[in-house]
Symmetry: C2
Subunit: 422 residues, 2 copies
């Protein structure tokens, strides 16, 4: 190995898993911080697969304006992937390939931007350098709309989907309230959340008090109780005139089955869910006879950069910058996490946390966040959630009325290695 | 009858049918214009039903600030309804009751804010004064997300749902593009539009060119051709890597059946649709094997005041003001309509049009707006649609991160008549 000066070598950045409205703000934080230190950033095309395939993007070819536009552009600018590396024992060849690619392109810092699975991958790679005699520092960078990463107070990406969910709940409820006298009485909004009801909980910010929407939130943390649900829908319609229900996609019955089981699985082996809202709507119609409407925003909720939380966008950028700082300072196997010091006024900072405390763990919603009947959120939940949706971060709009989302050139780095079969 | 001065009597305003993101801007236009002329405005609670039931709201109890807030508040502030008056022959009692209520509260002008059906109701009422020897002037005020009113160049409410649809298509497509390498290849967005594909067409503003999303739009104006659809999905995924489909809820097969027929009907006798997206998704999965996601924003699309078109919000306000001007000038059986004099720069004005030219008619999308294969929009469609989504009209947001939507007191007017059984 050649002798290295303090900052010789390149930094590789990759996005992993489901993208968010603000993951590109993290990318902007990474690239701008590295540029300020004179370090070149490569990005992996389609996440870790780009690293395995040696499909790298040279971000030095992008203008300052293009990089800055990432701060307000949803989706994953370099492509993401759903691909989990196996254990070192099970597939040593993949890890060796990664080191081979790193070595070929003088990658000395690897920043992996994702959720639980990605933190695990980042942890494995951080331990690899020693095992394979290659000096690589690996930093996990938090991102997930699911808000289920351990240690960090919240996850970049969550605040914006939380804001989208609260605002959509409020707006649709105003619509339903107008129509309820002769038309729709029950409105059901299905939101993301396989195992944790963080997004569903955020809908609770739309209103406070028994008569304010959402009247019922269904959390995956609680077994779906059909009788209690129907009784509350009926009582709400009779008292308020209409009822807004927000349902997490991951709710299950007493037998542990997803109400919306689709029977298919994604690349991580997770069930591919979707469609609990129509199941609930049919139930309401059959048992109570109320006219219903239901909505399932799916990707709209996690890509709605036009409605991003300013708090979230700022945190996403900050963890990108911090990750570069940590990497260049020689840290390894850490993740920049959000630390909250005050709810109101909201105060937060970014600190490094050990990846082994984060990888493969899942932050559950505290029991104290759910009301006794399990259909609402408590004051403690409001104190936690409220700051995360604060502030607007409107993207610039063009004269055509559309947000001016950025687009990168994504210039490929010339390959130096033979093709790898994975 | 007592002798009347020019502006003696009250004005009654009612909202009808499905509400929009900007129908309250029309209400603000009505109330502010009437106040400027010293005329008191009553509003009917829950549309025409409030008039029949003598459930009237005294808007003079609302502050200037509360009325001004209507300009940025979605839903229907006084309640709307799905209720169509029968013909004069079939239910003369209802019409007599309306006149009775008007007479009891000195209602001399009636403004009915709705779509095709409501224009028909307004026309009937406009003819009633003479038949029943009561001096009432009736003005229809346009409103519908469906954009299917005759004569007017566009309908207040449409521009905002068009903007929501275009922006959502763009944002979700950026998400899909990031994930397509290992995950979702086909994304299907279902939008409103029973008989006309105006909203679906607006999705076309998200991008231009064969590779830009949406790659396929399915219009109710064209028979759904499964083979052609699947062939285009396949070709798009093979060429671009992914495919965004926008489907109108009202698409039908060659037998004339709705793909999403739910078998239930609303109060106007229309089929209650919803759920063509999962049908298409299942088809894509079964025939092509691609991983899919689908979204069905339902009420979110028509209540998304946070993303309203400035053009639309301004037109909604302007037709409210014009309706008052026409009424107080003694006009009857007219509707203020939008007249376009230029596409670019966009120029429009409001003019009165005869209700009999509008009632019960339906503006179809011109054949020249659809591409030859029926899966996209033409340059002519873009010229028409583009101005309607221009400009942002962000509502003010509170420190809590939510839009500051207004709420009226809606003080009831004391009833003077016996209960009416309808």
């Amino acid at each position: 190995m050649p002798t290295r000066t303090a900052l010789s070598g390149r930094l590789l950045y990759a996005q992993s898993g489901g993208v968010t409205a603000v993951i590109n703000a993290t990318a902007a934080g990474v690239i701008e911080a590295a540029r300020a230190k004179g370090v070149q950033v490569y990005a992996a095309r389609n996440g870790i697969l780009g690293a395995l395939r040696e499909e790298l993007i040279d971000t030095t070819k992008e203008t300052r304006t293009a990089v800055a536009a990432l701060r307000h552009t949803p989706g994953g600018a370099f492509g993401s992937c759903r691909y989990k590396l196996k254990s070192l024992e099970a597939n040593r060849a993949e890890y060796e390939r990664l080191i081979e690619v790193f070595r070929a392109h003088d990658i000395r810092w690897f920043l992996y931007n994702g959720g639980n699975d990605s933190a695990d991958t980042a942890l494995k790679i951080s331990q690899l350098g020693k095992a394979m005699d290659y000096d690589i520092r690996c930093i996990g960078v938090p991102k997930t709309v699911d808000n289920d990463l351990a240690v960090t107070d919240c996850c970049p990406g969550f605040g914006s989907v939380a804001k989208y969910t609260a605002v959509s709940t409020l707006e649709a409820s105003l619509d339903v309230a107008s129509m309820a006298n002769t038309s729709t009485k029950v409105f059901i909004l299905e939101v993301m959340g396989r195992h944790a009801g963080w997004i569903a909980a955020a809908a609770g910010l739309a209103g406070e008090g028994a008569d304010a929407p959402p009247h019922i939130i269904l959390f995956p943390e609680r077994v779906f109780d059909e009788q209690a649900f129907l009784a509350k829908v009926k009582a709400t319609v009779e008292r308020v005139g209409w009822c807004t229900v927000v349902a997490s996609e991951g709710i299950r019955n007493a037998e542990g089955q997803f109400l919306a089981e689709a029977g298919t699985r994604d690349a991580f082996g997770h069930s591919q869910l979707g469609g609990v809202a129509p199941v609930l709507a049919a139930l309401v119609k059959e048992k109570l006879g109320y006219k219903y409407h239901w909505a399932l925003p799916d990707y709209l909720q996690r890509s709605a950069r036009h409605l991003a939380s300013k708090t979230d966008a700022e945190q996403a950028y900050a963890v990108g910058q911090a990750a570069v700082d940590y990497a260049l300072a020689g840290m390894n196997a850490v993740m920049p996490v959000i630390v909250r010091s005050s709810d109101a006024p909201y105060r937060w900072k970014v600190e490094p946390a050990a990846l082994h405390k984060i990888a493969n763990r899942e932050k559950k919603m505290p029991g104290s966040f759910l009301t006794r009947d399990g259909f609402g959120i408590t004051a403690a939940a409001r104190r936690y959630l409220a700051p995360l949706i604060q502030g607007e971060a409107h993207p610039p709009h063009g004269r055509d009325g559309l947000p001016m989302y950025g687009r990168l050139k994504n210039t490929s780095v010339t390959k130096k290695l033979p093709t790898f079969e994975h």
